[in-house]
Amino acid sequence: MRTLRAAWLVALKDLQLELRTKEILTSTGLFAVLVVTLGSLAFYTDPVSSPDVAPGVLWISILFCGILLIGRSWALERENDAVYGLLLAPIPRASIYVGKTLSALVLLFAVELLLVPLCLIFFQIEPSGVMLPLLALVFLGSIGFVSTASLFSAVGIRTRARDLMLSVLVFPLVAPALLASAVATRELFAGATMAEILGWMRILTAFDLLFVGFGVWVSRYLLAET
């Protein structure tokens, strides 16, 4: 309860800062639009082959937007050493990680709400019957990815090699979840029903539980004293 309350305060603080500056949403949103636009121009051939290309463009866009967003979110903590203000508080270390992950997820979902319809329009995919399962897939895929990237960004607070660490450690770790998301999205675009992609959703849910659980457990050590 104490962890959740403190996590909520940390997340609320991040969202309050973002509502004021709109810095993360603007930069990430524009980046997402750019990637989808470039992807659709470069890879689009015809309405028959576009469902094969769209999942790749969508998930590459989500991946890079997520990295950009999470990096910026933790950069706020490095400015003025503000994170030490949190570390001085009598709160569980895991609450800082949970709060940062929660706020990054909310912001990424906001970007995805723009990204998903845009992707469907640019690749001429009929939204009826696809939209809801796709949003569910995007939601599940993002949780595992954001929770892992947040964890390594937390480590990056105390190291100069934070960008290298993100690419070297996070990408291989989240690869199974991203691959599952991309394959499920491809099947959905190829006409699979919600029931047919349920297996993929279960796999993604298992990944999410594993990543979030691992993150909560290990963050108490990673965010502890040096």
């Binding site: 003025n80 050493d81 001085l88």
Partner: protein, 218 residues
């Protein structure tokens, strides 16, 4: 649950950062109601000592005791420690008021708004209370940082160069606040280069050099 203590002691305290020895075995004790000033040249280990006492870093060797408690009780002890660091640890996008309220909520202070408002008056923060911290001068941000450290009425108050960037009037108000904390039984440890400020607030002055206490003056 917040834990209380009347004394802080360190024994054989050492801290290395890779090959660099920042603290080379410090033995000290600090009592309630006493203001200790630590002076020394740059890199002598003063700030490292404060970071270890604030539990923001682990010692490489040695032990810190907060009364009967060790650092394994960190969660309970943190609610009794206030720290004014050289980097002010404030969110530049939030106002001074918002920074203080966030800290108060994280400290679970039930009378947060009133306590914040009292400190706002004591430190004359009201004229820039609702502006983002990024628009503050160093002295203004310093005062908010001090207010945040005092918010939860800490037993152990650690201050790294608290008078930096402050004008004479603000420095006088800090001296007054430190005196008040001392009378209320706080253990105050201050790192400062400013001799006049040090003599105005201190019960004892310690000098550090190359990670050791070299000259105690009581």
């Amino acid at each position: 649950m917040k834990l209380d203590f009347e004394e802080v002691s360190v024994a054989g305290l050492a801290k290395s950062y890779g090959p660099t020895l920042a603290l080379a075995g410090v033995d000290l004790s600090f009592d309630a109601g006493m203001v200790t000033v630590i002076q020394g040249s740059n890199g002598s280990g003063k700030s490292t000592l404060l970071w270890l006492l604030a539990m923001l870093a682990y010692p490489t060797r040695g032990e810190i005791r907060y009364g009967q408690y060790g650092v394994t009780h960190a969660d309970g002890l943190r609610g009794r420690i206030g720290f004014v660091a050289h980097q002010l640890q404030l969110y530049p996008g939030l106002s001074g008021h918002e920074n203080l309220l966030l800290a108060a909520k994280l400290q679970s202070i039930p009378y947060a708004e009133k306590r914040a408002s009292d400190l706002c008056d004591a430190l004359a923060l009201d004229e820039y209370w609702n502006r983002p911290v990024r628009t503050y001068s160093r002295g203004q941000a310093q005062r908010v940082s001090i207010a945040r450290a005092l918010l939860h009425e800490p037993r152990l108050l650690l201050m790294d160069e608290p008078a930096t960037g402050l004008d004479a009037k603000s420095t006088a108000s800090i001296v007054e606040l430190i005196e008040q904390e001392r009378q209320e039984g706080a253990i105050v440890i201050i790192v400062t280069h400013e001799a006049k400020f040090a003599s105005a607030v201190s019960d004892r002055i310690l000098h550090m050099d190359r990670g050791r206490i070299v000259e105690p003056e009581v």
